[in-house]
């Protein structure tokens, strides 16, 4: 008698009716999964588009226990539904940090693995999956297996970045990063165009963390002007961490509040306020998760939601290609204020992992027909440039784009076949992209 419930990703676009199952323990998760024809595990629902949408969804909400934490070695084992935020609350006071973290702490461990998320240290540390020692997962056959880079390696490399399509991750062991302080020494550099920004990434490639806020609305000489933020773990300041949320957006605001005038004003103000070549010490939570301070900020885009566009283009011709993309975006006048530019290091061996060596750009578009057309134009440009789009952010990519830009998709399908995942695990996105 479970009811249909409307579900959607963080972008609140697209929406779909689904049967939600929230098993109270991992034992009942196995039981529930076996009862369904086709299911998909879903954690916090923080992927932006439809990659966690499916008719039968298994919420991992209650599968969120720590299993073991070795404070001496920084080895942590936990169930897949635990959030990175809960993990941080426990590990930071003991002098450990996540080896890789995305821009929000409101994602689950299982989700971080399935998306093979990256962070501001990708050029040094790679993706989240590269720090996973092993994981335990439920296969389509009903078996529970442990996989690692040494054991069932094919399954492991398909599962890290595999968008939940190979099975259901039940628990994982990760290697944490030692820290001496919960503070970050941050240095800010202003770059007055995209070329200068890319140059700044190049000349600061030894910085542990680097990311740029980029103005996607400025044109001409200042096209792609950026504020680059470099960071290092500080040596002093103590290990306290404050995970309380400050404010929440209580309801969807009229989306008209975010228009080209307000966004341009915001971007200009942000640029003017930033100071070049300034160093300061900031605490870890606002440095890594600035938007987590505002609960449910996605409501700012109104009821229709938004689509996010995140691409990566290869390093060769990367700067020139980035200029082409930015020109297209600034001419459309639709890009929002939350745009991010970052240099990626080398790709890993996970089959559907997003990062390749080059430059990545991420920004939001308020959901509308014209915005989706713009995103599709950008998609075509990225394909021509030899780049790709991030599955975790995607809501509209075409099958042909996916298959052309993720050349390992056939290997991925073969592994799914081998481990009984075909027909058992699927999402709205996987169907759109032509996966079995």
């Amino acid at each position: 008698m479970t009811n249909l419930t409307k579900i959607y990703g963080w972008g609140r676009y697209p929406q779909q009716d689904a049967y939600l199952h929230a098993p109270p323990s991992s034992a009942s998760l196995e039981f529930t999964a076996k009862q369904q024809d086709s299911v998909l595990a879903r954690g916090m629902g923080r992927s932006y588009g439809d990659s966690a949408n499916a008719l039968n969804v298994l919420q991992t909400t209650y599968i969120n226990h720590f299993i073991e934490f070795d404070k001496a070695t920084g080895k942590l084992t936990a169930e897949a539904g635990i959030t990175l935020r809960e993990i941080l609350e426990v590990i930071v006071p003991s002098g450990w940090f996540l080896p890789v973290t995305p821009g929000t702490s409101y994602v689950t461990l299982g989700g971080a693995i399935a998306s093979d998320v990256h962070g501001k240290n990708h050029h040094i540390a790679g993706t989240f999956g590269q720090h996973v020692k092993s994981l335990s997962m439920l296969l389509g056959t009903g078996e529970v297996v442990t996989t690692s880079p040494q054991h069932h390696a094919d399954l492991f490399h398909a599962t890290c970045g595999g968008m939940g399509l190979t099975g259901i991750i039940i628990s994982a062991t990760i290697q944490l990063l030692p820290i001496k302080s919960s503070f970050i020494s941050q240095k800010t550099i202003k770059a007055d165009c995209v070329e200068a920004a890319c140059e700044a990434f190049e000349s600061n490639s030894n910085a542990t963390y680097s990311v740029a806020w980029i103005d996607c609305l400025s044109k001409g000489k200042s096209l792609g002007r950026s504020v680059i933020m470099l960071g290092e773990h500080a040596a002093q300041g103590g290990l306290d961490i404050d995970i309380r949320q400050k404010v929440t957006v209580p309801f969807s605001t009229p989306s008209a509040l975010l228009n080209s005038v307000t966004m341009k004003a915001f971007n200009t103000a942000y640029w003017q306020r930033a100071k070049h070549n300034v160093s300061q010490t900031v605490s870890l939570m606002p440095y890594f998760y600035p938007l987590d301070a505002v609960g449910e900020w996605n409501r700012l885009y109104g009821k229709k939601g938004f689509v996010q566009f995140q691409c990566v283009v290869p390093k060769l011709d990367g700067v020139a290609n980035m200029r082409k993309l930015l020109t297209e975006i600034s001419n459309s006048g639709e890009g929002s204020f939350l745009a991010v530019l970052k240099q990626f290091g080398t790709a890993n061996e996970n089959l559907l992992s997003f990062p390749i060596e080059g430059y990545t750009l991420a920004l939001d578009f308020k959901a509308s027909e014209t915005a989706i057309k713009t995103v599709k134009r950008l998609e075509d440009m990225v394909v021509d440039m030899g780049g790709r789009l991030y599955l975790t952010k995607d809501a509209v990519m075409q099958e042909s784009t996916f298959k052309a830009t993720y050349p390992n998709w056939e290997k991925f399908e073969a592994i799914r076949e081998r481990y009984g995942a075909v027909g058992k695990f699927s999402s709205s996105q996987s169907k759109r992209l032509g996966l079995a």
């Binding site: 419930t5 929230a22 098993p23 323990s25 034992a27 226990h65 720590f66 169930e79 609350e89």
Partner: protein, 245 residues
Amino acid sequence: MKRILIIGATSAIAEHCARIWAARGDALHLVARNEQHVQVIASDLKVRGASEVTTYVTDLNNMDKHEELLDVADAALGGVDIVLITHGTLSNQKSCELSVKETLAEIQTNALSTISLLTLNANKFEAKQSGTICVISSVAGDRGRASNYVYGTAKAMVTAFTSGLRQRLQKSNVSVVTIKPGFVDTPMTAEFKKGLLWVKPISVAESIVRAIDGKKTEVYVPQFWYVIMLIIKILPTKIFKRLDL
């Protein structure tokens, strides 16, 4: 550091209370029916900072075991400061209406077993002249309604019992806290359509821990239920009986 006994430790509300206490470094003794599930929770609470976590597996409907259960908790914790009683089932009203056996079984689980534990525990705390007893009752116990009066009857019994117990133990420095949650989004209520009145177990847990810390008496969680139930309680029966609640 507090020494806390949690009865019905695998319930979502109990687990979230336990996590708050674990983060404070308290010592916890967990009583539950499902061995595997309670072990998972125990390991989790250790990582979250509990100074000690021990477990005891039993079916609470087996009231012959209640004395032993409390003695084991006393021994494991070296004395109990707080006991939280949260176990229960959400009765299926429709099938209870067709079965005396099921109706009485629900009252056994949700009221009699709790009253047994309360009686035994009250005497222990009275003897040592200290302690806090916290029980999860429900807004459903405030007035019997057609949609869930079997569950409501059991909870009314618990509320009335704790009210009397509170008066009796007042002079013994023992506080009795009765929690009346409204709709809580837990595995127990997974099949219900959720609306505005629903809250997450974590926020209920925060209220419970606050109520225990502040030695409160009867607490509606969230507080707006006080107003809703006040209205439901004062409606004249003539009108009330016609309502579809």
